[in-house]
């Protein structure tokens, strides 16, 4: 199809689709006019029932925790998939990058940048952990905290310590963290089956709402997700990084 024909076809269809969507959304209640029992009930009872003060966390990890199990495995599959798709580069081109040489640093960074980045690693790491373990209390949780955790090793990369990145985050432990997190989610679900009534049922003491150690499996699942996301994301980004590094070292030769 010519570029013009394609645009014509799309614009005609898009006009129809726009009308359809506008017409359909016109059937929704007015924005802000929320009356559904589902949300109202959960807002009213979830704190008492789950001891998690964050109702979103109660939905994500308790009432609809099974969706989140699927979500974890979507992430897991994507990490496997990216490794599958980017694999050949590594087989073909893997050579010790010069960055690995003891006295070498990528030329672009200054010491100030380097120190700033490295200085940030520890606080960011702590911040990530904080977000993960407070997911049932306040906004945040395993996913958000996991992403923050994953940025800590990347800062080391920006700071020029690729060597450091490799020592801090070698692949095997990362795989283990990711696998333990993802598999852990299933195992916690199975514990509900074993000790409780059903899969993903809470089998742990709930504690008091508002405490850091409370809400039973919601906290445990948050930890599992935090591990899975942090491990998975670092692996995913290093898949892209490996290639970049290899290429960078080649172009400098």
């Amino acid at each position: 199809m010519t570029s013009r024909g394609r645009r014509g076809l799309f614009l005609t269809g898009a006009a129809g689709l726009a009308l359809l969507l506008l017409w359909g959304t016109a059937g929704l209640p007015d924005f802000g006019d929320y009356q559904h029992l589902y949300g109202l009930t959960l807002n009213a009872e979830s704190v008492a029932a789950t001891r998690a003060t964050n109702a979103v966390a109660a939905v994500t990890f308790d009432y609809r925790g099974f969706d989140t199990l699927g979500e974890e495995f979507i992430l897991f599959a994507a990490v496997l998939g990216t490794a599958l798709l980017l694999r050949a580069q590594r087989e073909e081109e893997e050579e010790p990058p010069e960055d690995m040489a003891p006295d070498r640093r990528p030329p672009h960074d200054s010491d100030a940048v380097r120190e700033l980045c490295l200085g940030l690693v520890a606080p960011i790491f702590l911040f990530g952990v904080y977000i993960v373990v407070h997911g049932h209390l306040s906004p945040g949780g395993g996913f958000q905290g996991g992403v923050v955790l994953a940025t800590a090793p990347l800062l080391m990369y920006i700071g020029g310590e690729y060597r450091g990145l490799r020592t801090v985050t070698p692949e095997a432990p990362l795989e283990l963290v990711k696998g333990a997190g993802t598999g852990g989610y299933v195992l916690i679900g199975l514990s509900g089956l074993w000790f409780g009534t059903s899969f993903l049922d809470n089998a742990l003491p709930r504690g008091n709402a508002g405490d850091v150690i409370s809400s039973g499996t919601i906290l445990a699942l948050n930890l599992a997700v935090g591990m899975a996301v942090a491990g998975g994301l670092v692996l995913l980004l290093t898949e892209f990084l490996e290639q970049t590094l290899v290429l960078r070292s080649r172009s400098r030769k």
Binding site: I131, P139, V147, V148, A150, T151, L236, L237, Q243, T244
Partner: protein, 82 residues
């Protein structure tokens, strides 16, 4: 219209405008920056919708992880083209 509604309307219109900008930025490198800005605006819109959890993930993903992946992919491709 109260203050919340005005804020929400304002942010939503900004989101729409930025999305147009993201689409029309043809250079992927520049787009990595506009999409990061778009992610931030989305996060603000989610805050205005009283969804801080979603706002946090929008920042983590939209403003950090996605632009980072784009930059890495571009680095790889530019590297290969040299």
């Amino acid at each position: 219209m109260d203050a919340t509604a005005i804020l929400q309307a304002f942010v939503l219109l900004l989101v729409a405008a930025t999305a147009t900008g993201v689409i029309l930025t043809r250079d992927p490198l520049a787009q990595a920056i506009t999409v990061s800005f778009f992610g931030l605006l989305l996060a603000i819109a989610f805050l205005a919708f009283q969804a801080p959890d979603v706002a946090l993930s929008a920042i983590a993903v939209g403003a950090v992880a996605l632009p980072l992946m784009i930059l890495l992919a571009l680095a790889k491709i530019r590297g290969g083209a040299e």
